[in-house]
Symmetry: C2
Subunit: 335 residues, 2 copies
């Protein structure tokens, strides 16, 4: 369990470790081709594996970046990661993924962990819009490049790329109304998630636009999980109000709602239209009964990568805000 070091190679070849280091770093101009060859041969033969820990300690740069996500079950985040990982890899960065499980404390732990590992930058989708504000602030002040994505942080001047939740929500509800749906339930997200607040606004605006009176009982708290979606649906049903559409905050909570309705033999989408602002195209396949407006995940990841990279390279942490618009086309449900 002893790793081979450049010193071992140097000793084996009777040369200095500096030369070995240079050769292995591919510094062709400062190493004689013959020596180069011998060193590479020895390295392979002896099974040398360069110690990034030492390199990074020396270089004061890790070429690692961290991605912090609130949860992992929604395809949205995995798609984001996939794209981001690909783009960063092309630029020579490795990616460390950390999941916070919607818990600000775990998020803080993750951030500290990443900082202690001296990552070069962080992309984060925060799980709470205010709980870890101090930590974010401190890290940025210390000069760590940070880009926030998807969920917004309003009270802090940070770089962020997000979608226009208000607009997309408005659009989606309007589309439902134009299709003849009159009684639209909104399973709202928690108010500590900015997107939830914005989507609620969009819902209200659309109703107003069509002069549909707002009844607060049509908005139920749905949290983030499927279980919470189930509870929300059951609560709404207990009011005994008529309804013909449900607009959920997350894909997960709407799935919960759906399962409740299915048990009661509702026909979807004839009796009731289900929709959400969804993460990915895959969504059509996975949740075929649910209409959705698509979020531009790929674009979001690309923008986040671009900003992070700029910050890392230029050491200029000027914040940059990007608001994307999703694919504003209501997908018809297929089931």
């Amino acid at each position: 369990m002893k790793y081979v070091t450049i010193i071992d190679i140097a000793r084996e070849l009777g040369i200095s470790k500096s030369t070995v280091s240079r050769a292995l770093a591919g510094d062709a101009r400062n190493v004689k081709p013959e020596t180069m060859r011998r060193i590479q041969e020895a390295a392979n033969r002896m099974g040398y594996q360069r110690n990034e820990l030492a390199v990074n300690l020396r270089r004061q740069m890790t070429k690692n970046i961290g991605i912090v996500i609130p949860e992992g079950v929604t395809p949205f985040f995995m798609n984001f990661i996939q794209q981001a990982q690909k783009e960063m890899r092309d630029k020579g960065f490795r990616t460390i993924i950390a999941v916070s499980n919607e818990d600000p404390e775990q998020e803080l732990e993750n951030l500290t962990m990443l900082e202690n590992c001296r990552i070069d930058g962080i992309m984060i989708c925060p799980c709470h819009k205010s709980k870890n504000l101090d930590a974010y602030k401190r890290m940025i002040q210390e000069g760590i490049p940070m880009v926030f994505f998807d969920r917004k942080i309003n009270d802090l001047n940070v770089s962020q790329v997000c979608i226009d939740d208000d607009l997309m929500s408005h659009f989606m509800v309007e589309a439902l109304i134009r299709r003849g749906r009159k009684h639209i339930v909104h399973i709202a997200g928690p108010n500590f998630v900015s997107n939830a607040v914005d989507r609620y606004h969009g819902y209200r605006e659309a109703l107003e636009k069509f002069n549909i009176p707002y009844d607060p009982r049509y908005v139920v708290d749905g949290g983030l999980t499927a279980e919470e979606g189930i509870q929300a649906m059951e609560q709404f049903l207990s009011y005994g109000l008529p309804f013909d559409a449900i607009f959920g905050f997350t894909e997960t909570s709407i799935l919960g709602a759906k399962s409740v309705l299915q048990k009661l033999h509702y026909k979807i989408p004839e009796d009731v239209a289900l929709c959400c602002i969804s993460g990915t195209t895959l969504c059509t396949l996975v949740y075929p009964t649910i209409s959705a407006v698509e979020q531009p995940v790929t674009q979001m990841a690309s923008e986040a990568c671009r900003i992070l990279q700029r910050q890392i390279e230029t050491h200029d942490l000027t914040s940059e805000k990007i608001v994307l618009r999703g694919n504003m086309k209501l997908r018809e449900s297929t089931a």
Copy 2:
């Protein structure tokens, strides 16, 4: 962008860096309480963040482990990660996740990356049963604790925890037959994934047991993705053979098949029963129309953690093979 070091703190307080190091490591017995307090106060005030790079280089131990998964869209892997991350965190390990995108080359890159970061151990679900065998062998020989999970590697004596795919597949197909399904299509996985081969065996065995003649046209190659599932289904339909059930290798490929059938207005599960050996309980919610035998993800993660930890702590890399049995209960589909 200059991090505070223990030397800075030592200088500030006019003491030696050793004392600072001890204090910050919580070595209460060797530091006067008063000094302890002063050091902690200074560390906080100055915004000290311990440099793990240096610690790890010195300690020759990172307390980081790596988890390598072939893909991220299936809930199964995210559930595994969630559980594993939790258990390892409790034992003081951090987790680095790397996704290979079903590509052996990316997998190799991931492994090298993790090795260069000197992780203490690796959990891996390999994307190919033979392509990276040499790399696995080399790493184990070098003394890196490795545990394989879910997908088996038969040609190498490694630690692995997996499920009895053969048995579960047999059970599932038998259950279909007992429910009166006669013409069962099997959308098979690629033969470079061990589980696919085993499940195919289970399928054959069950047919044999009930004296149902085997027609090779009922087994179509379905790969791993939804797209491949779609192609597979279309190919099978082109044969014009009767069928009343489909047993897919992955959740994703069966979803592809399902979408094809739905376009043709098949009723699921009345006209055709869909099933797969699924990753998680969540599956019931997400794919309500698909029957499934559940895999014991949590248990799998726990076992993997246990083995990895033992290997890390004892430096004893003796391999250990665990074969789990899923929850052998065919869930009735709900839609």
